[in-house]
Amino acid sequence: MREIIVAELTKAVTELTQEFAHYLPRLVVMLIIALIGWIIAYVFKALARSILRLTRFSKLSENAGATRLLNQAALPSSTELVSRFVFWVAWVGFVLLGVSVLGIAGLQEYISRFFLFLPRVFVALVILFFGLLAASFFSRAALLAAVNANFRSSRLLSISVRIIISIFALSMVFEVLGVAEQTMLIAFGTAFGAIMLALAIAFGLGGKDLARVFLEKRLISSKKEEKEDELSPL
């Protein structure tokens, strides 16, 4: 009995040792890949940081309003954030590559999915960034034009422009990521339609006097008023 137990234990240890010996080179390969990946990812991070600084990315981010959002959330600067993102994506990519060397059944498929999903994430980030940039640019342009035209609700107009463009950009981001595509599309369509309807009702009913005054000013006495109000600049 004792001999049988010892034999079984010996067999199990031998098998375990054989298995371990079988996996050890792969594990070493995985660790080497992860280590090399870390170095390459670090180089990528430094490279991304330099490129972003050269292209004055922080200024773009400031213009897009992203910097303010990051500050409010106590996150690092946009340049730092993007370079860290590059580092982690590159390193996780190498780690997964290393893991695939282990030959664990079922893991390959997830790894392939991860790599296939990466371009989508990049595209989504680019859309989000330029969407925020466009929202910031056009909302500021609307604000300045409205203030200089002596429009009373300049800030409201500017915020509306920002929200509409941001929602539009977000819906595109979700579509690219494949997350709740239909829901986002319907939500965006509903929100946009509701805003337009609200504006139409507000202007048509609530502000009919304002609309009349506005149109009268524009169409009837605009020249007289401008002449009285503006000093000749040149």
């Binding site: 200024k59 500021r140 604000l143 203030v147 200089n148 009285e228 503006e230 000749s232 600049p233 040149l234």
Partner: protein, 422 residues
Amino acid sequence: MAEETLLADDFLRQLINVGEVDILVGLPTHNNAGTIEPVIRAIQAGILKCFPRERTVIINADGGSRDGTTELVTRASIDDMWNASKVYALRTLHSISTQYAGTPEPGLALRTIFAAADLLRARACVVLSPESTTIETDWLQRLVRPVYDDNFDLVSPIYRRQKFEGVLMRNLLYPMTRAIYGCRVREPYASEFAISGRLATDFLNREIWNDELGRDGAEIFLTVAAITGQYRICQTFLGTKVQPPRSAPDLVAAMRHTVGALFSSLDGNFSFWSPITGSQPVPTLGADSEVTVEPARVNRKRLREMFATGVAELEPVFQSILSASTLSELQRIAQLEIDEFNYPAELWARTVFEFAAAYHRSVMNRDHIVQALVPLYRGRSLTFLLENREANAEDVERSVESLCGEFERMKPYLLEVWADRK
């Protein structure tokens, strides 16, 4: 040459038929049928009276008028002038009208005129505004003589103005150009001026024509090019300048063309202007300023309201452009009622310099920076209006001079904020 591709074939053919000229009179137009005739008559009379022996050509660069402007120019016959004045030109007076390619832009018209001057090797090129209904026969002579006889390269005009006209010129363009470039040119954005052939050729080859701002603010860039290129500059008194009644001022556009161009000119000329302190007078023929004191109808309440609204609504924009102390001071002023309203010269100079530095650093879209200055300019023009309500010509001149002094005194501050890379 560059101008050969710039000018239309037919126009080029007409220019070649003219041959070399001594004086080229440029007339940039776009739908100016209402005012063009007296201007043409004055030009023709000026040529007959003062330059009968010179080879002269009138070039009308038109932006695609649909009101018959070009027909009026080409139809205007010099024979009537001859009969009226009993003076005969000894040379043929050519008058050519051409439509330049592209959208109507004063800069494109100027470029066409300068290209023609370069091609015809004109000794003097004079540009006159088609809207100058107060033009007199001797304006041409006053502009051309300094170039033609005294070898000046740029002759800038001085006008007799109502005291509340040209407010942007008096409160920003003149003081800032003077403080930055050290040269007291009173009309850095002139619609009438004369230049020498060599300045025309030099200016034509500049990079400014490649972008919209350069074309829109070509007059400012010309003045700056003359100053920084060490060309000989003088001023000449012309007479009364009256803005045509139809052109209610589009303040934002005017600020873009002038202030935007002036701010933009600072980038490439830093090594020239940074060491300059103070300013030097420019030789002036005739009076160096004339102000008339007729009253003007201006809605002061609305000006104050637009300033206050601008300061309140544009706060997030100003936070990126102005220092905290300047912004808080503006917010304090925005609370004042008209009777006590005062946007002091020192604060105005500081504001403008901070805007110039923000423009240089491109803290946001540059056009947005210029647009953001508009409500603040309204506040400053209200102060100018209130300060000079009862003022006579000397008081107005003293007030402008004092503002210029403030800009010159504040120039080290500009250098400080210019270098600030935060």
